[in-house]
């Protein structure tokens, strides 16, 4: 049954890896703000009317 012990041992290592990765991402900024990203997605990045004017006719050219 040594396989089982190896399995448990390495599972804990993997689990630890995931946990650490999660904690790191928290401590390193990705989740510093755990609220506004949920709001931000609700806004569409439409174009401002002014920009619309100047960009008329160039729509196709500018696409990237």
């Amino acid at each position: 049954m040594s396989a089982l012990f190896i399995l448990i041992g390495v599972s804990i290592v993997v689990a630890g890896g995931f946990l650490t990765a999660f904690l790191w991402s928290v401590h390193n900024g990705q989740y510093d703000d755990d609220y506004t990203p949920s709001i931000r997605i609700l806004f569409d990045d439409g174009v401002t009317p002014e920009a619309e004017k100047t960009a008329t006719g160039q729509a196709k050219k500018n696409k990237q």
Binding site: V14, A15, D34, P37, R40, D45, V47, K63
Partner: protein, 728 residues
């Protein structure tokens, strides 16, 4: 926290104001979104039609028209169409729409988008042609043969390339949680698909799984379960986290919870596969491992479900009025129900009852029709009017669709649950004298009314979908596709630099590509640890000296068994219960399957188990099998099995025998050196024996027909172990 954080870097603040950082104008690619959306709808109808037809075949077996349309070939067509064509295109539709907006960038490459779209559709067409023709690898949800497997891999890489390219050129620093779900989907599905599709080609359309027997089963269900996890669940969760807040116009209930949901889910899911193999010949510890992780899965799953539903807190009046939200609420609720049921089904005591029954069919359809179907419909109704810049043609019709769909799910699920419970109870029922109360056939005929009701549910669901087709068509016609949707955002300046005393892992979190590589490694480790011991440790597969390789004729017969999809209705795995050993003979041992490439344990008993069909009390004459294959109901009245009379006409293709023996030897089957040269002579000799035997039963058939090979295989099943020397 370190003071020198990226976000509070003074230089960052300056650079935002610098002229270099003016807002940029760019255009979202809606053409790809539209293409994937229309493909989703088209293949959805096809997949549901195939499902409905297959369901009706179980009520009216006469609907099995020609070998190309028999249940065993249509069922894989249905599952593949619904999973990889309907949901697959649904994923791409959702990802292409949301990823661009979340990254504030157009998809990385229009060319890749085109290749991805057309390539995926080509794969689906190839599947729709090859599956009815009987080209199958014989593993559930991974039936497609090796050339198509390679094409899938290539297309998946194209998808990933396009996705990561977009992530790399994003204008938004924070990766919204949906993107994490997409990344996990890409990485894990790639690993799953490649690992499970390891096969040795014999001809252009035939291959053998690299794994055999119990190992093949473990790999397959590790794949099978994680296909549910990472193809049907994580991408749709990502879509839920984007489209539900957008449709409700309010942020997700708890963004924090969504992050916890993601990490917990991907960590737990990969280990749950063995719960598909409880009480089988899989080593017990692997079974227990699967159960433990499956039970734990309820926490992230329900966390996600609750997060979705609570997003609508204080806005339930909107749900009453908005059909899109209605679809989404039913979808999330179905997700909750299916993920509550899943952990329960993975408990050994419940699996003992539910496995092999229609209960499982009900369970997966709550997921597929409820979670995947309803969420897809909700997103389509939300997205099509937006990209076509016009209101939805008819809200009333969408409401009708909603109710037809919801009722369809109920009419589907309730009869199937009922059928499952009844089936299981009947299989396990003993008389007071200690004998099995029901023959298997009695349980089959008892199911017919339930199967009929299930078809009604399917019809309702499909008619709702057809209403949607019309509604979307009219909407698209009324509007005009905004092929390139203008947007503006400030670019993201690369501001990171190596800080003093920075932790080594910083590079990983900064770049999605590194992150992907990292997750890939972690997931690979997870899968490998679960499987490698089984490969390595000999004690897991006790070698039974009397188990011998198949004869060439039996091998050919077995390939016919695989080709016809017999495993979609017949298991080859007797569990250690009295009700099963009484009915089918001694329970199955891991060592009996060492030469089975692929394994054929099956997952459903619409028909009886066949593991010992050629041995003990179950053994029947060649003549019985011949007549039964020609017309099953002539031997078993009320049988719903398709007839296989064409095998009496069709010649067995013996040109492949040599290649098959050689391939099997490469895979470790101990055929003697040079046996491939004598294989066909051996085959004809055995075939002639069976044909001669049939003559005594007044059946005249030439020995070179397919039916002879299939009979040879059926008669072989389960005989090895009864030849075991009993000297203990």
């Amino acid at each position: 926290m370190q003071a020198e954080n990226l976000y509070y870097d003074n230089k960052t603040a300056e650079s935002i104001l610098s002229p270099k950082m003016r807002v940029e104008r760019f255009y979202y690619d809606n053409t790809s979104v539209k293409n994937f959306a229309f493909a989703t709808i088209t293949w959805g109808v096809v997949g549901m039609l195939a499902g409905l037809y297959a369901a009706l075949q179980l009520v009216f077996p006469s609907l099995n028209i020609t070998q190309y349309g028999s249940f065993g070939r249509l069922r894989p067509l249905h599952t593949n169409a619904v999973i990889f064509a309907f949901v697959g295109n649904g994923i791409f539709m959702g990802v292409y729409y949301s990823l661009q907006r979340l990254c504030k960038a157009r998809m990385y490459s229009d060319v890749l988008s085109k290749i991805h779209f057309w390539g995926w559709q080509l794969i689906i067409v190839a599947a729709a042609i090859t599956l009815p023709l009987g080209y199958t690898a014989g593993k559930e949800y991974a039936e497609l043969e090796w050339p198509i497997d390679i094409a899938i891999t290539v297309m998946w890489v194209v998808f990933g390339w396009n996705m990561f390219g977009t992530i790399l050129k994003r204008r938004e620093k924070h990766l919204y949680v949906a993107i994490w779900f997409y990344i996990a989907t890409f990485v894990t599905v790639a690993v799953l698909h490649i690992t499970n599709s390891m096969e040795l080609p014999v001809t252009f359309f035939k291959s053998y799984s690299l794994y055999a027997g119990v190992q093949d089963a473990l790999v397959q269900w590790w794949y099978g379960h994680n296909a549910v996890a990472f193809f049907l669940t994580t991408p749709y969760l990502g879509m839920m986290y984007y489209f539900l807040p957008k449709a409700a116009n309010r942020p997700v209930y708890s963004y924090k919870l969504s992050i916890v949901h993601f990490w917990a889910l991907i960590f737990l899911y990969i280990w749950a596969g063995p719960h598909h193999l409880l009480y089988t010949a899989l080593p017990n510890w692997a079974q227990s491992l699967g159960v433990v992780f499956s039970v734990m899965l309820i926490f992230p799953s329900w966390g996600g479900m609750i997060n979705g539903l609570l997003t609508l807190r204080g806005a339930w009046d909107k749900v009453r009025d908005d059909v899109i939200l209605k679809f989404m609420v039913v979808a999330v609720t179905a997700y909750g129900m299916a993920t509550f049921e899943g952990p329960l089904l993975s408990l050994k005591s419940i699996s003992a009852i539910s496995h092999y029954t229609d209960w499982i069919v009900a369970h997966v359809h709550v997921g597929a029709l409820g979670w995947n179907g309803m969420l897809t419909f909700g997103i389509l109704y939300w997205l099509i009017p937006r990209i076509f810049n016009t209101p939805l043609y008819s809200k009333k019709m969408a409401n009708w669709h909603f109710w037809l769909g919801t009722l369809g799910i109920i009419f589907y699920a309730v009869p199937m649950y009922w059928a499952g419970f009844t089936q299981s109870a009947m299989w396990k029922q003993f008389t007071e004298a200690g004998q099995l109360k029901y023959t298997f056939l009695e349980t089959v005929t008892y199911m017919k009314p339930f199967y009929a009701m299930r078809s009604l549910g399917g019809t309702l669901y499909l008619s709702g979908t057809l209403l949607m087709v019309y509604n979307i068509y009219k909407t698209a016609r009324a509007g005009k596709l905004v092929a390139n949707e203008a947007a503006e955002a400030a670019p993201l300046e690369k501001i990171y630099k190596v800080h003093k005393g920075e932790h080594w892992h910083r590079w990983i979190e900064r770049k999605p590509v590194q992150l992907m590589v990292f997750s890939l490694i972690v997931i690979l480790i997870g899968g490998a640890i679960e499987m490698i011991p089984t490969f390595m440790i000999k004690s897991n597969v006790p070698t039974i000296s009397s188990v011998k390789p198949y004869t060439p004729l039996e091998l050919q017969g077995r390939d016919i068994y695989v080709r016809e999809g017999c495993y979609t209705c017949h298991s080859q795995m007797i569990r250690p219960f009295r009700s099963e050993t009484e009915r089918y003979g001694e329970y199955s041992k891991a060592g009996e399957f060492v030469y089975d490439h692929p394994f054929q344990w099956g997952s459903k008993r619409t028909g009886p188990d066949l593991a010992r069909e050629g041995a003990g009390n179950l053994k029947k004459t060649n003549g019985w099998h011949f007549r039964h294959f020609r017309e099953p109901s002539s031997m078993s009245e009320g049988s719903v099995m398709p007839p296989y009379a064409f095998m009496i006409q069709d010649n067995l293709d013996t040109s492949t025998t040599r290649a098959k023996i050689n391939a099997m030897r490469i895979l470790g089957v101990p055929y003697e050196a040079g046996f491939e040269n004598a294989a066909n002579a051996n085959l004809f000799k055995q075939a002639k024996g069976i044909a001669d035997n049939l003559k005594t039963d007044s059946i005249r058939v030439s020995p070179n027909k397919e039916i002879i090979a299939l009979i040879a295989y059926i008669q072989r099943m389960g005989t090895d172990i009864s030849n075991e020397p009993k000297n203990k």
